[in-house]
């Protein structure tokens, strides 16, 4: 178990290094290769050579990429000092540096945006797991019936709808025309009722897509499991159908659902980017998109790293859950 955790942690560190390095490469190596000076991306309106040189020094763009990378990693773990003319600013660990555009520390921006994305993701995740699995199980058990066919048609439509389209459509209908819900985001701590109200549509929009996928997966899995030998054994024991499904079949559907969940967590940020853009939620996804258009590397690095950390942790949790659900899985 300990050896397993150490190995996993090592993999996590490698993963995060690769993500960081790739992001660095995208913003420093590619522009250079394409023949433009990264410093020019960050210089303001008056881009005389002196100002560009100033920027280059300030952002230590003169250093080799690997050195900059090393400073960044150092900052994450032990903090970092920035000379700012008059005095030295210490940026405590975890130091993600300062935004190139607003000169504000990145870490507080991330911690501000994180609860929004987590609220969105957690609520939607709960909604789609409950909705998707229930629909899938019921459909499998009523295979071929009108219920099954309508549920599966809706599910197929669900996986075929772009989030931003359903988002815009539901905004147009429920928020602007019917004025049922207000979508101006408030933090959970500030105004719980408003928090809930503003997230209803985003939750449903995001969850609808995933619920459809999970319903389809659960249905297929359930059908497969119901044909498994051990289900036949359970019946041969004389168990009631409810126990067969509830105790024997349901337990097994969790494994593929978890597998998919592990994969989806990687893609979830993508969904969050689109949902946050559509609903104007001040979360990590929107922060990232804005930072990308502004070429604000420290912020982009921060978001991608946070996202990667989140994904890696979620995957670790998924793997641990595997072991809880399936005794055959050995951590090691």
């Amino acid at each position: 178990m300990l050896a397993y955790l150490i190995r996993r942690l090592f993999a996590v560190v490698v993963m995060l290094l690769v993500v960081t390095l790739t992001t660095f490469a995208i913003f420093f190596v590619i522009p250079k290769w394409a023949g433009s000076d990264p410093a020019l991306l960050f210089v303001g309106k008056q881009a005389d050579p002196a100002a560009i040189e100033g920027i280059r020094q300030k952002l230590s763009l003169g250093d080799p990429v690997l050195v900059q990378f090393w400073h960044f990693v150092q900052g994450l773990f032990v903090g970092r000092d920035y000379a700012s003319g008059t005095d030295v600013t210490h940026c405590p660990a975890p130091c993600f540096g300062y935004s190139f555009r607003t000169e504000q520390a990145v870490w507080p921006q991330l911690t501000d945006a994180m609860p929004v994305t987590l609220s969105l993701a957690a609520g939607a995740c709960l909604l789609w797991l409950v909705g998707g699995i229930t629909t899938g199980v019921v459909s499998a058990l009523r295979r071929g019936t009108l219920w099954d066919r309508s549920a599966m048609t809706v599910a197929l439509a669900g996986v075929s709808l772009p989030i931003y389209f359903t988002g815009l459509l539901s905004l147009a209908i429920f928020s602007y025309s019917l004025k049922w819900v207000n979508v101006d985001y408030k933090g959970l701590g500030d105004d719980p009722a408003m928090w809930f109200e503003s997230l209803i549509l985003p939750w449903i929009t995001l969850a609808f897509l995933y619920a459809a996928m999970y319903a389809r997966l659960t249905r297929a899995t359930m059908l497969e499991i119901m044909g498994e030998d051990y289900i036949r054994t359970a019946r041969a024991k004389g168990l009631r159908e409810r126990a067969v499904i509830g105790r024997h079949a349901m337990r097994s559907t969790w494994t593929p659902v978890l597998t998919l969940l592990g994969l989806d967590l990687g893609a979830l940020l993508g969904g969050a980017v689109l949902t946050e853009t559509t609903y104007n939620l001040p979360g990590l996804g929107r922060l990232a998109v804005n930072a990308i258009t502004e070429k604000d590397l420290p912020v982009i690095l921060g978001v991608t790293l946070i996202a990667a950390v989140f994904i890696v942790i979620a995957n670790l949790v998924v793997d641990l859950l595997y072991a809880v659900i399936d005794p055959r899985v050995r951590l090691g």
Partner: protein, 334 residues
């Protein structure tokens, strides 16, 4: 890292281990090739057929876009600002300016023919989705087979890379990449560059999905008797790979490729929506939706039409892909 989830049951007597349903099906379809069986099943699946027909229709629309537009529409980049209310920038006519002249109405502010742009948008969507699927399938197949066939450290390396790619915040990377890549690249200019970039990045992030499946299949096929037999007869690696393994991978790869296209369409549209798609004035559905964000309260049709176009296309591919999968699935879960 983790033990295989579904321990392979003893394969000593595959006939005897099959369950009742498989027994029945096996017995009943004896003697027909997989392709024939698949075709028979596919023909019976009405929804899949309908999906297939829509797919064919959309492909034809994309191919003959210039002809269709010349018959039913206006050139996609032609402005018709006489159709636009100069004060508000929205179409003068009702329903987003839908009329016999403009079948799907006109675009706000510039009055371009939405019908023509939707038709031309199909080209971009399908082209990018299809080519990206090809890239993903080619890469996935190559690396999947290499990993599965050679095993050992090669397998570990490729598997780790696949795990890592799957855990990447992909969308962010793609937008970042598109935002820094120059507008002219390797001799390509204009929308060609963007299409090439979109195809490469979507395809690149898609290959691990194919790779995992191919690796798994290769692993299990590798142990199969006929491969053993071929090996014992002294067949070369290349022979085994291309003559024995590849034909058996065709079915799963086909299924995955068909199901990947709709995902790619959605990704392309999402990227265009976020401003990382093809360059204007090239028409693309995602871009139309992105533009509709500013005007949908006053001109909802301009949002609905491209949205529905994406929806129908993706749905058709999904229906068709599902049908193909069910038809090729030996267990026939449907």
């Amino acid at each position: 890292m983790t033990a295989p989830l579904h321990g392979t049951s003893t394969d000593s007597d595959p006939v005897a281990t099959a369950d009742v349903a498989a027994d029945v099906v096996k017995a009943s379809v004896e003697g027909r090739s997989l392709r024939q069986i698949a075709w028979t099943r596919l023909k019976r699946d009405k929804l899949a057929l309908a999906g297939g027909i829509v797919v064919v229709f959309l492909v034809l629309v994309a191919i003959f876009a210039p002809l269709i537009v010349s018959l039913l529409g206006h050139p996609p980049n032609e402005f018709h600002q006489e159709e636009i209310d100069p004060l508000f920038g929205t179409p003068k006519g009702s329903m987003g300016g839908i009329s016999s002249d403009f079948l799907f109405g006109v675009e706000p502010s510039n009055g371009r023919d939405v019908f023509s742009r939707v038709v031309y948008g199909a080209r971009i969507s399908l082209l990018v989705a299809f080519l990206a699927a090809v890239v993903a399938v080619v890469l996935g197949t190559i690396f999947g087979i290499i990993a599965g066939y050679f095993g050992g450290w090669v397998d570990s390396l490729i598997s780790r890379v696949m795990d890592m790619l799957l855990a990447f915040p992909q969308l962010l990377f793609i937008i970042s990449l598109v935002s820094v890549l120059p507008n002219d690249l390797l001799g390509l200019t204009g929308s060609g560059v963007r299409i090439a970039i979109l195809v490469s990045v979507i395809g690149f992030f898609g290959w691990p999905y194919v790779g995992r499946i191919v690796r798994g299949q290769t692993l299990s096929l590798r142990e199969k008797e006929y491969i053993e037999a071929a090996r014992s007869l002294g067949a070369g690696r290349r022979y085994i790979l291309f003559r024995e393994l590849l034909p058996n991978l065709v079915a799963p790869i086909t299924v995955y490729a068909t199901l990947m296209i709709p995902t790619n369409i959605l990704t392309e549209a999402a990227l265009s929506f976020l401003g990382a798609g093809v360059k204007p004035p090239t028409a693309s559905w995602g871009q139309m939706l992105s533009k509709a964000v500013g005007t949908y309260e006053d001109d909802p049709m301009f949002m609905i039409i491209p949205g529905v176009a994406i929806f129908i296309t993706v749905l058709a591919f999904n229906l068709f892909g599902d049908g193909v999968r069910d038809a090729l699935d030996p267990k026939g879960t449907r």
